[in-house]
């Protein structure tokens, strides 16, 4: 999926990578929820919408790779959320312990950075930090950098999703 040779911000390759990953994740969702087409409750619909949305973000993060802080944060959040859900339901996966340690290390790093960088960030930047995934552990300068890349990728994401939907007049 990832193409380490190419720059992830190259729109052509990013777009194609994102499309590929997104479609794959959509198929996976469909496979996991075979009864999705039949059920029509509103709650179910919302749940599925959220799943598709998360799938879109995660597939975009995967297409970008781990070069960017925001993509790393998104992937970590997704994995963390999954782990939390597993714990909640009492399901124990083999990767849990590994992820837990990884998560702890990341959380510690994030908290420490947060404390260090809070003094430097402006008032407005706090809002932006909340918007951009992983923005809270960044100083203002890096935050702007990540925001620029994040905006580029969001634009690509919306374009691709719209074009797929239009193509099949969904």
């Amino acid at each position: 999926m990832k193409n380490p040779q190419r720059s992830p911000t190259n729109p052509g390759s990013l777009r194609s990578r994102f499309t590929q990953v997104f479609l794959q994740s959509l198929l996976r969702i469909r496979k996991h929820n075979p009864t999705s087409s039949s059920s029509s409750s509103h709650g179910e619909f919302l749940k599925r919408c959220r799943r598709v949305k998360v799938a879109a973000y995660v597939s975009m993060a995967r297409a970008v790779g781990t070069r960017r802080a925001w993509s790393r944060a998104t992937l970590w959040r997704a994995r963390n959320g999954e782990r939390q859900r597993n714990l909640l339901y009492g399901r124990c996966s083999k990767s849990n312990s590994r992820e837990r340690s990884l998560g702890k290390r990341k959380r510690k790093k994030k908290k420490k950075k947060k404390r260090d960088n809070e003094e430097h960030s402006f008032g407005h930047a706090k809002k932006l930090q909340k918007l951009v995934p992983g923005g809270e552990a960044m100083d203002f300068c890096c935050l702007l950098d990540e925001t620029a890349h994040y905006i580029k990728c969001l634009i690509t994401q919306v374009k691709v999703m719209r074009s797929i939907a239009d193509f099949y007049s969904l």
């Binding site: 949305k53 930047a125 918007l131 300068c141 702007l144 620029a148 939907a165």
Partner: protein, 413 residues
């Protein structure tokens, strides 16, 4: 006046016969090196060939003997050699212009006596304009370079040539690629900033002598600007093709050292995107000597008055040659009349970084051009990000009832 100078240079066409084979090979391999205004990363490979060829070429005259006494002879030899590089396709049209610019650059390493390897291929593209008027101008420049006082001046320039040179650079950031370049063909400072700030040139490395050579280019281009804007643009576009005397620290410093001359009002001249060629060139000509002098004073004053960091930074700028990506710390020079302690310098560096990023964001976010000020810009950016995220959410709804058509789509990809 112009025609007179052709006479002494005619015999120099024999210098063209001195064409080492590797040079020819290099020139054949990389013709695009010089004529490509967009210096993309692919050309660095070609530049590598070229650099090795040049170094071999340059080192051979170095072995010839003492330079100050036989300066003119060496110069003529090197002219011929260097000139052949810039004209892979057109050897004939400019036999006269070949010697002239090559003269200037080739002479530098020997006059300065600092380096043996030379990455002065950036002068050769100046040879390629086939226009006779340009050649005439080159001849006048060569006359100027051949005078004995030039050696001294060149040596002086090597010390703080980079400063004066970079002091004239404008605000173009390396990230904003082509548009600023193409819209300002008339601005010599813009051209040089373009050349200097091209990130791919870092890979080619540089020598301290490059600063002197840059000054020579600046003088050459001064002459060019005086007469013809078209030629100027063609020359300027070719300069990046040949320019590889760039340091990584220079690039970082150029952006900061542009501030060295920023205190002067002259900086406003380069910032006008479209200007009359004559006006701009005149103002540049007027300003360039002025800039050189205050920069000298600036340099001297700064050397004496500033703390160790900047003095060290100054020395590092002249001596160090880091061809690889920027180091951990960046050397910054305090602007004239500003605080020189390290805290304020660091603050300024940070502020410049932030303003640079904000400019990038301004390009990304539509409708941000009219907004000025960080707070309003940030508000706009936040709104835009929120709207994009909302759009994603909306777009995810149609995909809830996915059909098997997606498998077909995936197969197509």
């Amino acid at each position: 006046m112009d025609n007179e100078f052709f006479m002494p240079w005619q015999p120099l066409s024999s210098g063209m016969a001195i064409q080492p084979n590797d040079l020819n090979c290099a020139s054949k391999q990389s013709p695009d090196c010089f004529f490509n205004p967009n210096w993309d990363s692919s050309s660095t490979d070609q530049g590598g060939h070229f650099e090795s060829a040049l170094s071999s070429m340059v080192s051979s005259p170095a072995a010839a003997g003492s330079y100050l006494s036989n300066e003119s002879v060496l110069i003529r030899e090197l002219i011929g050699k260097l000139g052949s590089i810039g004209n892979p396709g057109e050897a004939s049209p400019s036999p006269h212009s070949l010697p002239l610019s090559g003269n200037a650059t080739a002479a530098m390493p020997y006059i300065g006596g600092s380096n043996s390897t030379n990455t002065s291929c950036y002068n050769t593209p100046l040879n390629s304009p086939p226009d006779r008027a340009v050649k005439e101008r080159f001849s006048s420049v060569a006359e100027f370079t051949a005078d004995p006082g030039f050696a001294e001046r060149a040596a002086r320039f090597s010390c703080f040539g980079s400063r004066s040179f970079n002091g004239r650079t404008s605000q173009f950031s390396p990230n904003n690629g082509e548009p600023p370049y193409k819209s300002n063909p008339l601005m010599e400072s813009g051209k040089f900033q373009r050349v200097l700030s091209s990130p791919s040139l870092k890979a080619l490395g540089s020598q301290a002598v490059a600063t002197v050579q840059q000054n020579v280019i600046s003088r050459l281009s001064d002459r060019i600007e005086l007469t013809n804007s078209n030629e100027e643009s063609s020359v300027s576009e070719q300069i990046p093709g040949g320019e590889n005397g760039l340091k990584a620290s220079n690039e970082a410093n150029s952006r900061k050292r542009k501030a060295a001359a920023k205190g002067k009002a002259k900086e406003s001249a380069p910032s006008t995107p479209v200007a009359n060629a004559m006006k701009v060139s005149e103002s540049h000509d007027n300003s360039s000597p002025k800039r050189c002098k205050p920069n000298e004073d600036d340099g001297n004053g700064n050397d004496t008055a500033k703390g160790e960091d900047d003095a060290k930074g100054n020395n590092k700028k002249n001596d160090a040659k880091p061809p690889e990506p920027p180091k951990d710390y960046i050397h910054v020079r305090a602007r004239r009349g500003q605080a020189t302690d390290s805290h304020s310098l660091a603050e300024r560096v940070r502020r410049e970084k932030i303003s640079e990023r904000m400019k990038l964001l301004q390009d990304l976010v539509p409708g941000c051009n009219k907004v000025t000020g960080k707070a309003l810009m940030l508000d706009e950016i936040i709104n835009y990000v929120q709207s994009l995220q909302h759009q994603v959410e909306v777009m995810s709804q149609p995909f809830v009832n996915v059909a098997s058509v997606l498998e077909f789509l995936l197969l197509c990809l």
